[in-house]
Each structure stands twice: as structure tokens, then as C-alpha cells.
């Protein structure tokens, strides 16, 4: 009786797991966003990168084997106000002519709970690479598609963002909030 119940429970677990056992191996960039949120005199505004590519291999059951990489076309940055976007792409900020891409390469994924993971990786912006670590949340939208949401705060001066007249942090804060949403699926 006991054995049968345990077996039934195990089978149920297995069934349940197999229903969700999916390895996400593709990113739908049209439904994904990378947003930069600086704080200007206490006010928040948002810029986003319209063009980027991302590769992923992520089985939530085997996070240790996960791989992820993203390459962002810095030129696609848009903060919604042309003169500000031009300034952001100029030499004091992203210096897009010299540094056309920014990259992120995941180095480790550790499970926090069933659908929350800690993502560690190396972020390279403007030729500077810094290790970052932040939580991501998986939302399972269907049997083979889901969404990863992560938020991290970077120090803009770590990457040389905001030189010259922008170097002070009284007007534009050093902290920049980065919000990432990846629409992922199994192809």
C-alpha cells in the first residue's frame, strides 16, 4: 500500500515534470526588451535598445548547464528625445562609433526557487567588462514558451558612461536600472 502510493506519487511527479520539461533554446527578440532607466534629478526616464540578438540554452530543471549570451546593437538605443539619444550615443556616453556592441555572457545560473534563478555573468559596455549577478524570474506561458524577467542596477561610471560634463552624479545618478525581458521558447 505504502509502496504503491509512493510509486503513484513518483509517477505523478514525473508526469508533472515531463509536462514542463522543456529546454528553452530560442529567443524571440521581437517580444523581448532591454531597457535602461536612469534617474535625472530624481526623475526616472527610460531608454531601450531596439536591436539585439540573444542565444540561450536553458532547462529550468538543469540550471547548472544553462548557457546564455546576448549582443546588443548600441546604435539602436532610443530614449525618446532625439537630442538626448544623440548625446547618449556620442563619445561622452556609449561612444557607439568606437564601441558598436555591448554584450552579456552568462557564467552561472543558480536556482533560488522553482521559477527564480540567480544569473551571474559578464557585462561588457564601452569596452569595459564587469561581473554582474541578478535574479531572474521565469514565467511559463505555455508548454514550450516562457518569459524571463530580470532587473539589475549598474554603476554607469564603472563602464565610463557619462564623461566630461556628465561625470558628476548629482544630476544623473550613478545607478542605472536595467530591465531585461526575454521571450524564450523551444524550437
Amino acid at each position: 500500500m505504502m509502496i504503491r502510493r509512493t510509486a503513484a506519487l513518483a509517477a505523478l511527479c514525473l508526469l508533472n515534470a515531463s509536462a514542463w520539461a522543456v529546454e528553452y533554446n530560442s529567443v524571440d527578440t521581437t517580444k523581448s526588451t532591454i531597457r535602461f532607466i536612469p534617474t535625472l534629478m530624481g526623475s526616472k526616464t527610460e531608454g531601450s535598445f531596439k536591436k539585439f540578438s540573444a542565444q540561450i540554452r536553458f532547462d529550468p530543471e538543469k540550471p547548472a548547464q544553462a548557457q546564455a549570451r546576448a549582443e546588443v546593437m548600441v546604435q539602436s538605443f532610443d530614449i525618446g528625445f532625439d537630442e538626448a539619444t544623440d548625446e547618449a550615443l556620442g563619445p561622452n556616453w556609449f561612444d557607439v562609433k568606437k564601441f558598436p556592441t555591448a554584450t552579456f555572457v552568462a557564467t552561472q545560473v543558480t536556482p533560488l526557487t522553482k521559477d527564480r534563478f540567480e544569473l551571474s555573468g559578464n557585462l561588457s559596455i564601452k569596452g569595459q567588462t564587469k561581473p554582474v549577478r541578478f535574479p531572474v524570474t521565469l514565467t511559463r506561458e505555455s508548454a514550450n514558451a516562457g518569459r524571463l524577467d530580470g532587473t539589475l542596477t549598474i554603476k554607469r561610471l564603472d563602464f565610463g558612461l557619462g564623461q566630461g560634463q556628465w561625470a558628476g552624479t548629482g544630476t544623473v545618478s550613478n545607478d542605472i536600472n536595467v530591465q531585461i525581458r526575454l521571450s524564450i521558447f523551444n524550437k
Binding site: L40, M41, S43, K44, G80, E83, A84, D86, T171
Partner: protein
């Protein structure tokens, strides 16, 4: 006709006088800060001016709330009896318009910032929610509305000052004393 001497009971109450002059000076400052924004190239200076303009605008909105509550619960001095009715009516109309504009302008600025994708905060202490989704054409329209209302307010302020000076210099009825900040008691 001998000039009236105004006793304390025909003066505005001290909080009404304080709110009048405090808001008057802030409104003049915020107007000229606002006028200068488009003259300053994109950079930290511009962000600072925008920041102060918005902080002072939020301050006006809060003071407006106190002032309206105070005005609703405290009767102002009676109209000058020597003035023709049309002048007293015109004065009341201008006062109503000033009250409406003193709140419509900060709210239109808040809406404009929202549509342009910038939050509004109060001296970095707290952030107000954005009331609208980011919408460039709407942001542009709201900027025009904000500017037209601000110019209208300044025109009415000019009329208000001219009328006060007319009472003081032509009618010589010392109407200004009703709104003069209290001196130390001499009796």
C-alpha cells in the same frame, strides 16, 4: 476723499498673505526657469533647470491645495466699496482664473512629463506616478498647452498687478495694505 485706513479686520489673514507672496515669488521663478529650458543645450545644466522647474511646480500644486482650503474656510476682506461693480466683478473673475491656472499649469506639466516618458518627483523625496503612457505627439501637444496656460497666467498676473497699482497710485485707497505682510506691532 480721505484714504481709508485699514484696520486688521479688513486685512487678509496672515496665512492667506503668506501663501499669496510665497506662491507669487515661486510662480515668477518657475516661469522664468521654464522659459529658459529650451535655450539650454542638452546637458547637465538643462537637466538641473528642468529638475528645479518641476520641483517648484510640484511645490506650487501642494501650496495651491492649502491655499484653496484656507480660502474656502476664511472669508476675504470685502470688495472696495468705492470701486464700480464692473471692476469688482472683473477682479473676482481674474482671481478665479488665477486659481484655476495655478493648478492647471502644474498638472499640465505633470501630464506633459508623463507623455514624454519622464517621471516627476518632489526634491528627490518621492516620485509621482506617470499619468500617461509615453506618447511623443501627445507630449508635444501638452507642452504647447503648458506654455499657453503659463503665458496666460503671466498676462493675468500683469493685469492683477496693474489693478493693484491703480488702487494704490490712482484711487489712493491703500488696498495693498490688505495683502501687505504684517509688520511688528507698534501699538
Amino acid at each position: 476723499m480721505t484714504p481709508n485706513t485699514l484696520s486688521d479686520n479688513v486685512r487678509y489673514t496672515p496665512p492667506a498673505i503668506a501663501l499669496h507672496w510665497l506662491m507669487a515669488w515661486i510662480i515668477i521663478a518657475v516661469y522664468f526657469l521654464g522659459l529658459s529650458i529650451d535655450e539650454i543645450p542638452v546637458g547637465p545644466d538643462r537637466i538641473q533647470v528642468v529638475g528645479w522647474h518641476k520641483w517648484l511646480g510640484v511645490t506650487i500644486a501642494f501650496l495651491w491645495g492649502f491655499r484653496v482650503l484656507w480660502r474656502a474656510s476664511h472669508r476675504p476682506p470685502a470688495d472696495p466699496a468705492d470701486s464700480p461693480a464692473w471692476q469688482n466683478n472683473a477682479a473676482h473673475l481674474v482671481h478665479i482664473a488665477l486659481y484655476v491656472l495655478m493648478i492647471a499649469i502644474p498638472v499640465s506639466g505633470w501630464l506633459m512629463s508623463s507623455a514624454k516618458g519622464y517621471t516627476t518627483n518632489f526634491f528627490g523625496l518621492f516620485d509621482l506616478p506617470n499619468l500617461l503612457e509615453k506618447d511623443k505627439p501627445l507630449g508635444h501637444t501638452l507642452k504647447e498647452v503648458h506654455e499657453v496656460l503659463a503665458n496666460l497666467l503671466m498676462a493675468l498676473v500683469g493685469l492683477h498687478i496693474a489693478a493693484a497699482l491703480k488702487h494704490q497710485l490712482i484711487n489712493k485707497d491703500n488696498l495693498l495694505a490688505r495683502m501687505r505682510p504684517a509688520r511688528k506691532s507698534r501699538s
